[in-house]
């Protein structure tokens, strides 16, 4: 039975996530204490590592950029009623798309043409990779969760195959392509700030972060301001009602996954065009899966996803610093902390809702409860 919590909106969107975050930190702190470390010291190191210096902050934002793309990808599919677990593979294809056009043409084309081309290729490749499972779901009844998971494996083996057999630079020992020409490299944020006369330490943070902000705004406009987004959400929320309205559900499945795949593909822009400057293995590094947690925590809303991405970016970056700074604190502990946050803010996000509702009823005067 679905018990109504009837939390006011502000409590649902602001108070509850903060409480969940606090509980996750407490639980993680308890584990830290259990293994004999000082929780406050670890937390301090974590916060400092994430945002303490301009350089650390840049790394946090760089990680967050990829999470915004994959988180949005999960959210768009979710609003279409689909669970896209294939962000990882779509991101691989995005990188492949961007990398291939760069390898072919970066020596001949100027940056102003090359970079948009790479963005377009990344989005298109991710889109193409996602529409296959979408088609199978819509017209052949194959479950999209299964097919997208399988397509992750296909994507990573495809990348390995292409790199090892075709793209590896001759004579090189490592499995990566030849570097692109300079026209295929997105400017770093420190470059861009330097043009404006601001000094900023060098970091992997690049112009993709602006693309991520644009994507978040774009997704918001698409879902809630356009007819196409309206139809997509209608199908996601009630396929029978959509049918009654004359909306073609199967086409909406294709559309949702196409947009979703394109967004995931943009991870390739951040990693390949923004940082690596060449095609290589494992550049997605789990961002596709982190995107699921990000979307879950961000309630599938672009603003929530941006905030959740920042949190996860901070955890990645801060966690790496903690593992470096604090003696005996390994990366695994950081993963544990992330696990707690996903658990409390995502999977168990409503566990504390009835408690909060009861508390609010007691604390607040009648009129104040409707937010």
């Amino acid at each position: 039975m679905n018990h109504p919590h009837l939390l006011p909106r502000w409590a649902d969107l602001v108070v509850l996530p903060l409480i969940n975050l606090a509980v996750a930190l407490l639980a993680a702190g308890a584990v830290v204490a259990l293994v004999g470390q000082n929780p406050t010291e670890v937390l301090q190191a974590l916060v400092h590592g994430a945002v303490g210096t301009p350089r650390n902050l840049s790394y946090t934002l760089y990680y967050a950029t990829s999470f915004v793309f994959t988180g949005l990808a999960v959210a768009v599919a979710f609003h279409g009623g689909l669970f896209n677990i294939g962000g990882e593979g779509q991101a691989v294809l995005g990188g492949l798309g961007a990398g291939l056009v760069a390898l072919w043409w970066s020596a001949h084309l100027p940056a102003w043409l090359m970079l948009p081309l790479m963005v377009g290729a990344a989005a298109l490749a991710g889109m193409a990779w996602a529409t296959v499972p979408a088609y199978l779901q819509a017209y052949r009844g194959s479950h999209i969760v299964i097919t997208t998971i399988m397509f992750n494996f296909l994507a990573s083996t495809l990348l390995v195959y292409l790199l090892v057999n075709w793209l590896k630079a001759p004579g090189s020992m490592s499995v990566e392509s030849a570097p692109f020409a300079d026209s295929a490299k997105l400017p770093g944020v420190h470059h861009m700030l330097a043009w404006l006369g601001v000094e900023w330490p060098s970091s992997p943070l690049n112009a993709s972060v602006l693309l991520a902000v644009a994507a978040a705004v774009g997704v918001h406009l698409f879902l809630w301001r356009t007819r196409a987004g309206y139809r997509l959400r209608a199908v996601g929320a009630s396929e029978t009602a959509a049918q009654y309205a004359g909306i073609h559900a199967k086409r909406q499945v294709l559309l949702a996954m196409a947009v979703s795949g394109a967004l995931a593909g943009l991870v390739g822009v951040n990693e390949i065009a923004g940082v690596a400057g060449r095609l290589m293995l494992d550049f997605v590094a789990g961002a596709g899966f982190t995107g699921i947690a990000v979307a879950l925590m961000g309630r599938n809303h672009p603003l929530g996803i941006v905030l959740a991405s920042l949190l996860f970016g901070a955890l990645f970056q801060g966690g790496a610093e903690v593992a470096f700074e604090v003696q005996g604190f390994t990366r695994d502990m950081v993963v544990t902390l992330q696990g707690f946050i996903v658990l409390f803010s995502g999977a168990m996000s409503y566990v504390l809702a009835p408690v909060l509702a009861r508390l609010l009823v007691r604390l607040l005067p009648e009129g104040a409860r409707y937010g």
Binding site: L6, R225, R227, A237, S238, A241, A242, Y370
Partner: protein, 524 residues
């Protein structure tokens, strides 16, 4: 506390004891007071009706009795003993049994398995099954609740499934049965049988609490009636001392005029707006659903489609509204003709001025997760008033328009930003009507316009349909409520097993004649 002061005098010793007493029950969900000092006393061995509009708090009260919720405050007594009911198991142990409106049955299991499920007398099924069968046969004999025990429940008619639910409760030793809107899904014949069973149970000493909207049933069946409004009990009386209009007034809080006889306007009916010929439809499992249905709909008339549910009425509505293409047949709509190869689709239908209020409000008419203004554009999202040619929605204008519709159709609360699911059933239906009627359609197809809708809203909805008819719209009304059809329709078409078995002007309709046609027999 004030409980002591509020408690009415205890029943005299010679009267039958109370089977259930719920005293001064309070229950709130967040800011909503679902029950606010409600007191219900049910005498043992009686049939007790609990009536009230949607949201009056009857379901919450019964959920507290059955252990789905715990009351915030108040006293519960069963057979005179103070009790605490924390879950359904506690309730069953106290001899309470609930028959839900939406059946809680496993469709693929047989009736016997369903009844036994969770109450097996032994972990070894070869012992439990014969024991259960024996007990069930005794029960069926005693109560008259006969069902085919070895048929999968999914293959049983709705009335039989309900019997299985009742048997389930009795099998678990229920002495007090709670029935939630039991007649909503039944044909008149099944209803009569159910009443017979309930009377027999009463004669055997069982107690029945009947949650219902339908005051006619209360008058026909019950001994006592409790009326709830706004979370509390407003009226309580022996049925013998009251009348339908008094009860209706107590429910709504003002006088209501229900079921005014339809004024036959057949002579005023204008040109043919919709004409269907020889429609044949076979579903995906090869079951024929429509067998040569034909009908005509003229401007300025309401045509009622009567029939036991599941005899092709829903499919007819789907075909006429363009949701399903038939295998053969032909449809004329406002001057355009459609063949199965290029059947009408919902978008075309709307453009041709056909509005459709589907019978399944939750699955079809609204997207429950959408805000009211979004639901108010469903199906019309591409119309110029809602979106530009480039596909940008006119958000503000749509919200203003919805606020306006809510005013005209009395949708409460008047909040275009409220999520559709949070409106009560009646207000959801009014929102759907506002969307479909607001564009002054020339043809309206409407299924179950007042299912699950409270009395005040029924009066309003009927008024809207009559007004639309008088304005020259052609209305096809499908309803499982014969009373509703008789009250509204100018002409009645009766369906049985996918075919039209008869057509009568409303003046010539009697329940018997319609009953014969609904059963498929010719009128003699």
């Amino acid at each position: 506390m004030s409980q002591q002061a509020k408690a009415p005098p205890v029943a005299p010793a010679h009267a039958t004891p109370w089977a259930v007493e719920m005293v001064d029950i309070h229950k709130r969900f967040g800011a909503v007071r679902a029950n606010h000092g409600a007191t219900l006393r049910v005498r043992s061995g009686t049939i007790h009706a609990l009536v009230g509009e949607n949201g009056a708090g009857k379901s919450t009260l019964m959920s507290i009795l059955y252990g789905f919720y715990e009351a915030d405050s108040g006293t519960l007594r069963v057979n005179g003993q103070p009790v605490r009911i924390r879950n359904a198991q506690d309730a069953i142990a106290l001899g309470l049994g609930m028959v839900h409106q939406h059946f809680m049955l496993v469709d693929t299991m047989t009736a016997l398995d369903n009844v036994m499920l969770g109450a097996e007398s032994s972990a070894w099924l070869h012992k439990a099954i014969p024991a259960a069968r024996q007990r069930l046969q005794d029960l069926m004999q005693a109560t008259g609740l006969h069902v085919a025990l070895d048929t999968p429940v999914g293959d049983l008619p709705v009335g039989d499934r309900q019997r299985v639910e009742i048997l389930k409760a009795l099998f678990r030793g229920a002495k007090t049965l709670i029935l939630d809107e039991p007649t909503a899904v039944l044909t008149p014949q099944e209803m009569a049988q159910l009443f017979e069973v309930l009377r027999r149970l009463r004669a055997q000493g069982s107690t029945v609490i009947l949650i219902t909207h339908k005051l006619k049933e209360v008058m026909a069946l019950c001994d006592h009636v409790t009326v709830m409004r706004a979370g509390t009990v407003v009226h309580e009386t022996p049925v013998a001392d009251t009348r339908v209009d008094a009860l209706a007034q107590a429910m709504v809080g003002r006088a209501v005029h229900l079921m005014a006889p339809g004024m036959a306007l057949a002579d005023k009916a204008g040109e043919v707006r919709l004409a269907a010929q020889d429609l044949h439809l076979t579903d995906a499992w090869g079951v024929p659903r429509l067998k040569g249905v034909g009908l005509q709909l003229r401007a300025g008339e309401i045509v009622g489609v009567a029939g036991v549910s599941g005899n092709g009425q829903s499919e007819l509505l789907d075909v006429l509204s363009g949701l399903t293409a038939p295998q053969s047949g032909r449809l004329g709509l406002n001057g355009q003709t459609f063949e199965p190869s290029a059947w009408l689709n919902p978008t075309q239908a709307r453009q041709l001025g056909l509005a459709h209020v589907p019978e399944d409000r939750h699955a079809r008419a609204l997207v429950m997760g959408f805000e009211a203004w979004e639901s108010a554009a469903l199906g019309y999202e591409a119309w110029p008033e809602n979106a530009t040619a480039w596909g940008w929605m006119h958000r503000r204008a749509m919200q203003t328009h919805t606020a306006d519709l809510m005013e005209r159709f009395d949708v409460r609360p008047r909040d275009p930003l409220l999520v559709s699911a949070k409106f009560s059933g009646g207000n959801q239906q009014k929102l759907v009507l506002a969307r479909e009627l607001g564009r002054a359609p020339t043809v309206l197809l409407i299924g179950q316009p007042t299912r699950g809708v409270d009395i005040g809203a029924i009066e309003f909805i009927h008024g809207q349909l009559r007004r639309l008819r008088d304005a020259g719209c052609a209305v096809l009304l499908m309803s499982s409520e014969l009373d509703e059809i008789l009250a509204l329709a100018d002409r009645v078409v009766v369906m049985c097993q996918g075919a039209v078995t008869g057509e009568l002007p409303v003046a010539e309709c009697t329940e018997t004649r319609l009953g014969v046609l609904m059963a498929g027999g010719p009128l003699t």
